[in-house]
Point group: C2
Chain length 198, copies 2
Amino acid sequence: MIEPTGLRARKKARTHDAIADAAISLFLAHGFDQVSINDIAAAAEVSKPTLFRYFATKEDLVLHRFADHNGEAARVVRDRPPGVAPVTALHRHFRDGLDRHEPVTGLNDHPVVVAFHRLVFTTPSLAGRLTQYLLEDEEALADALGPGIEARLQAAQVLAVQRVLARTNWQKIADGRSAHDVHPEAVADADQAFTQLR
Amino acid sequence: MIEPTGLRARKKARTHDAIADAAISLFLAHGFDQVSINDIAAAAEVSKPTLFRYFATKEDLVLHRFADHNGEAARVVRDRPPGVAPVTALHRHFRDGLDRHEPVTGLNDHPVVVAFHRLVFTTPSLAGRLTQYLLEDEEALADALGPGIEARLQAAQVLAVQRVLARTNWQKIADGRSAHDVHPEAVADADQAFTQLR
DNA sequence: GTTACCGGGTTAAAAAAGCAACCGGGTCAC
DNA sequence: GTGACCCGGTTGCTTTTTTAACCCGGTAAC
């Protein structure tokens, strides 16, 4: 997967990042609804149509970071080593995420990450759009698990589990505890939840 | 002269500066002939045709700084206060340049300015193109001075004087002396030369 | 109750930039 | 001497970006 490193691609990536960075820092500073698209475009030194060529909606300016994880669950299942059950692979992957303190797991106490999550969870339109992403993820995972209603159900349950685990972790950290401190509980919760899934 | 502050103009100016800065720093580091247009375009993160849309020739990458002074002599004459002779106005303007240690006067000991001048004077194609610029300047000055052969002659003499004065100043500084040290001689030389012009 | 503004989002046309391929002159190898 | 390269510079086509204008829903003023 050697992507083109031409001038065009490089500048596109830079513009994308410039817009996203400007948007998120403005949102964190003043709140989602207090910042207009025009403000962001001006801060990123880009015109409004250009901004919308990179991000379909205002919400996506925030959520593209989650979108990066789009289809991740499905990929984990598809790429699992032979002889490993799908749920086991997902379990391991989630635990790896906890160990690496990945933001998606909620187990990250970096101030900007915490602030970012609070922004998402406390802004209705963002939380709403985020669930849309989760639904797409769910569908992809279902396809990876196979045909039939059982696959669909399992996919829904897995993503529900991950969502609850992540929110629980984030809540503990938002209450002031450190990621390191929370880690054991997070692992225990995950182990229990995933074991129950089988 | 309120120039547009739109995005287009701003980015154009930035691209222009990026190309010029990349070019000059590469030229100073490795010499004019040792650096190719492709090197400069790559360093400025710009394509070759784009580079040539901003600068007509390789030489102009260096000389656009002189080009900024294009028509300056003519402007000084046109804008002189009433009752002041053209040569007097030019004389004063040159002396102001000396006092402000403007690079065009040669009386500037900043290392990159000195290196820049050496680059120009020791590279034949650059020195050649520079005289082209001087000729245009001369014509403009002649027009500002009025019609007829006398105006043309005087214009030629004024620019010749300025050129010699600047080169003399630069030579002294290239020999290791400081601009502050050379300043009195430079003023004396200028006063003598301009007085003789009348 | 319209009038007028503001915010998210779209459109069409024109400018700018990128890319690839080329030209013409020089130079070096063989 | 001819074939292969490099360099300065150009050309035509495509992609990207800007600009200004607009649509639509909400909301505040009068």
